[in-house]
Amino acid sequence: MKDLIKDIESRFKTSDYIQKLDHLAFITVEKEQAISLVTYLRDYRKYAGLTLLTAVDWLEDGVFQLTYLLNNPTDYTEIGVRVMIDRDNATMESSHHLWENMMTYQRELREMFGIDFPGSPRIEEDFILEGWDNMPPYRRDFDTKKYAEETYFPRPGRESNDPATYMKSKMYPND
């Protein structure tokens, strides 16, 4: 895979190359060149299969990381193409024309992360959630436990004690 990475690095603005396993590498590419790189890999480097497309929310850095994981059906290697996109203006070029199943991933990302892919088919339709009017739930700043407790009110009547605090209150309350 080393040759491939050299080739990519010479053609595209990439960084942060990691060879995770023998058959698995990750590389970061600039947002503008992402789709060209993915297309290049698909058409010229035999990475014809899309294993997955997903996002990681780096809330602290204010970016979403999109990972296009492609696989090569001939030598069974995989390459993960990372793209950092701005969290406040989460829009990415759609690549539904490359793979038939890409639009499903893009619909999910749109719904769960709020990342828009203009032009992707059925992108506006609900995918998993129905009637969701809150923040996209996979974003890091969405607190699922708080939401669940407020919305679905767990059964009351339970309370717990911390051993150290309880022992303090019973054994040496004044110290």
Partner: protein
């Protein structure tokens, strides 16, 4: 969550926000050329509230209760992971048919609704609808811990914690996942209740209909059905 909260706040609900296009009011050109106004929410759905049908007493009712208990028709709606343990019950190892429990494919012909585990909000909407379509007397068996207090998914934004706030439950079965035997024990318990005339949760649902509906609509924002679609 007091049950005397028997008032219905319609103004809270922003029905239009999620109304599906096919449920919008529209005018339709009939084959004869006339124009017909259609309001699907009124025209396509049943508008009656469920009624309380007081159980009678006496030997006849006892006999009927016995028959109801011995002929449990279960709706084949696997709402959660618990549905994986339904097929073993219909197959040789456990064979629930010998206890008079049978599967039905349509809610209209079912008496027992096995809520098999967690309910996502999206499924809850369908489950309520299926439940309301079932003929009374009808029973709900809540299978698994998730129906009792959220179970594994207590902190999930998409699954309910307590089933009893949305649907009246007759029998709970703890477990994750409960063995098929536990489900059989649940059926046995339900039979016991029916024979004793204590399984009247369908009437409880009708009595506290507004309370249940308020709870349901609090979380099902995309209601998209008339209130009384029973």
């Amino acid at each position: 969550m007091e049950k005397d909260m028997n008032k219905h706040k319609f103004e809270d609900l922003d029905v239009d926000k999620f109304l599906a296009p096919e449920n919008e009011k529209r005018s339709v050109l009939a084959p004869d050329g006339s124009i017909v106004e259609v309001d699907p929410l009124k025209d396509y759905f049943c508008q009656d509230r469920p009624e309380v049908q007081k159980p009678r007493s006496g030997p006849v009712e006892n006999f009927l209760n016995w028959a109801r208990a011995e002929s449990l028709w279960v709706l084949g709606f696997g709402t959660g992971c618990g549905s994986i343990e339904i097929p073993p019950l219909t197959t040789p190892r456990f064979d629930m048919f010998r206890y008079g429990v049978q599967m039905r494919a349509t809610p209209r012909q079912s008496n027992v609704f096995v809520i098999s585990g967690y309910l996502s909000v999206k499924t809850l909407k369908r489950a309520i609808r299926a439940y309301e379509q079932m003929p009374s007397p009808k029973y709900i068996i809540a299978l698994g811990s998730c129906t009792i207090n959220g179970g594994m998914y207590y902190d999930s934004y998409n699954t309910i914690n307590r089933l009893d706030a949305y649907m009246p439950v007759d029998v709970y079965i703890a477990g994750c996942m409960p063995r098929p035997e536990a489900l059989l024990a649940g059926f046995a318990k339900l039979k016991e209740l029916i024979k004793a005339g204590k399984a009247e949760k369908a009437n409880e649902y009708a009595e506290n209909f507004d309370w249940y509906k308020t709870n349901q609509k609090k979380i099902i924002k995309d209601w998209n059905m008339p209130d009384f679609n029973w």
